[in-house]
């Protein structure tokens, strides 16, 4: 039975990846969105002047980009399940509902991370050249990106499963997603800030914020997992 679930998990994940490779729908739209946000940031910072330390706002800016970008992707990830009623065929098969949750969330996590890890260097390239560098080792940034994306994918997968069945899917997802994401985003920005600025004690602050991120992931991930069965069944 267990190995069967594992097989199903792999099958759903593989299907999502194959479809993404074929259509490049999620990654390309998310990536494009991230780049467009950076253009908008250029406008936003246009009058700030050269002396302005971009590092102070950079953590916030990248998370703003990532949160809106992730909503775009999460929405897409369920549209094709819904389109031809495929989700019904999936539910008809003898698959445990949590397997669907884990597979979809993992797929979403992978796509999110790909776009995040591609757009972060572009952000640095566009905004941080010739300025003070990162205060702490860059791998700390990778840790935040991964930690926060887990939470985004878990809660986002649950919410996207719901909002795909509502009127005005995209807006609906934002309305539900942002309030629930607040603690995670706040901690992620704090951790990113500590990683970027550096200075004495910043590493401790970083890990303290990461503890929040992990705590959020654990609690909300668990709740999302528990609720998924109900939400996908109707």
């Amino acid at each position: 039975m267990k190995s069967n679930s594992w097989r199903q998990f792999k099958a759903i994940l593989r299907k999502d990846i194959v479809m993404e490779l074929r259509t490049k729908e999620m990654v390309s739209s998310m990536g494009l969105y991230a780049i467009l946000t950076m253009v908008v940031y250029q406008i936003a910072l246009a009058e700030a002047g050269e002396s302005f330390d971009v590092r102070l706002v950079m953590p916030g800016l990248i998370w703003v980009a990532f949160i809106f970008m992730s909503m775009l992707g999460l929405n897409r990830s369920f549209v094709h399940e819904k389109d031809q009623g495929c989700i019904e065929a999936l539910l008809l098969s003898p698959v445990d509902r949590p397997v669907i949750f884990f597979a979809k969330a993992t797929g979403n996590l992978i796509f999110l991370l790909i776009v995040e890890f591609l757009s972060l260097p572009i952000f640095s390239f566009l905004f941080m050249q010739g300025r003070a560098g990162y205060g702490n080792p860059v791998w700390l940034l990778a840790v935040v990106l991964f930690g926060a994306s887990v939470g985004i994918a878990a809660v986002g997968t649950l919410l996207a499963t719901m909002t795909v069945n509502t009127k005005g899917k995209d807006v609906m997802l934002a309305v539900l997603f942002v309030p629930l994401m607040y603690p995670l985003l706040r901690a992620a920005v704090g951790a990113t800030f500590a990683a970027v600025i550096g200075g004495p004690g910043s590493v401790e602050t970083f890990w303290a914020f990461m503890a929040w991120v992990v705590g959020y992931d654990a609690i909300m991930g668990l709740v999302a997992y528990g609720l998924y069965e109900f939400v996908i069944g109707v």
Binding site: V155, L158, M162, N165, T166, K167, G168, M172, V175, L176, V178, P179, L180, Y182, P183, R186, A187, G190, T205, A208, W212, G215, Y216, I219, M220, V223, A224, L227, F230, V231, G233, V234
Partner: protein, 230 residues
């Protein structure tokens, strides 16, 4: 239709108690003072602002509780109860926000300050509004109930996390207006506060029951319509 006289009793009692607390606030409870001796009149808001805020949190417990009950039983009545509880919560949340903003203006000189309680409350307000937006944009009745239950539970769990992270943040970035309050309340103040709090909870209960009665009416009307001609 079963009449529930308790709702009316609670409504009257709650009205009396809050009115009593209202007079006690201004004529009985002693005014507090700033460190420099000037009277802190704005502190009077406390007697109603805090009871309303606490009532809103208490009512949200019912949103989550009935949400869980609904998901377990799939009985529509639990969804109705969760919806009404959230409505009452929204009512209190909005009142808390409004009175809180007035107090902030008086005490801190600004209408808004990203301070832990305010921040958390703002997010909570958005989430509760989101609950109703979600309900309105889901057409199928049962689906609407399931989604609302799930989201209600998420909001209930998310609220304390938001609260504690903002509190924790404040402790590492101390803000100028640290509570700085006198420890404990005088007896008269405490009594006034408790009366206001109890009265407000009674009103909350009465609101809940009245709305529930209305929903039951609505259901009966619906049933009759089906019976008469589909």
């Amino acid at each position: 239709m079963k009449r529930n006289p308790l709702a009316e009793i609670m409504l009257v009692l709650g009205g009396l108690l809050t009115t009593a607390a209202y007079f006690m606030t201004f004529f009985w409870a002693p005014p507090t003072a700033y460190p420099d001796g000037r009277v802190d009149f704005a502190q009077k808001i406390f007697y109603f602002h805090v009871p309303v805020a606490e009532a809103s949190f208490l009512v949200l417990i019912f949103t989550a509780y009935y949400g869980i009950r609904f998901l377990m039983t799939r009985q529509r009545i639990y969804d109705t109860k969760a919806k009404i509880a959230t409505e009452v919560a929204l009512f209190f949340v909005l009142l808390t926000m409004a009175t809180g903003i007035l107090w902030t203006k008086v005490e801190w000189g600004v209408w808004w300050q990203w301070e832990p309680r305010l921040t958390t409350y703002f997010i909570l307000t958005l989430a509760v509004i989101g609950y109703f937006v979600l309900r309105n944009s889901t057409e199928d009745e049962e689906r609407r109930a399931v989604y609302a239950s799930a989201f209600g539970i998420l909001v209930f769990i998310n609220a304390p996390i938001s609260f504690f992270i903002t509190r924790w943040l404040e402790s590492i970035h101390p803000i100028v207006f640290g509570g700085g309050k006198g420890s404990g309340l005088e007896t008269t103040m405490l009594v006034t506060f408790i009366i206001a709090q109890v009265g407000m909870l009674m009103l909350g209960y009465a609101f809940y029951q009245l709305r529930l009665r209305e929903e039951e009416f609505k259901e009966r009307v619906e049933a009759l319509k089906i019976e008469i001609g589909g």
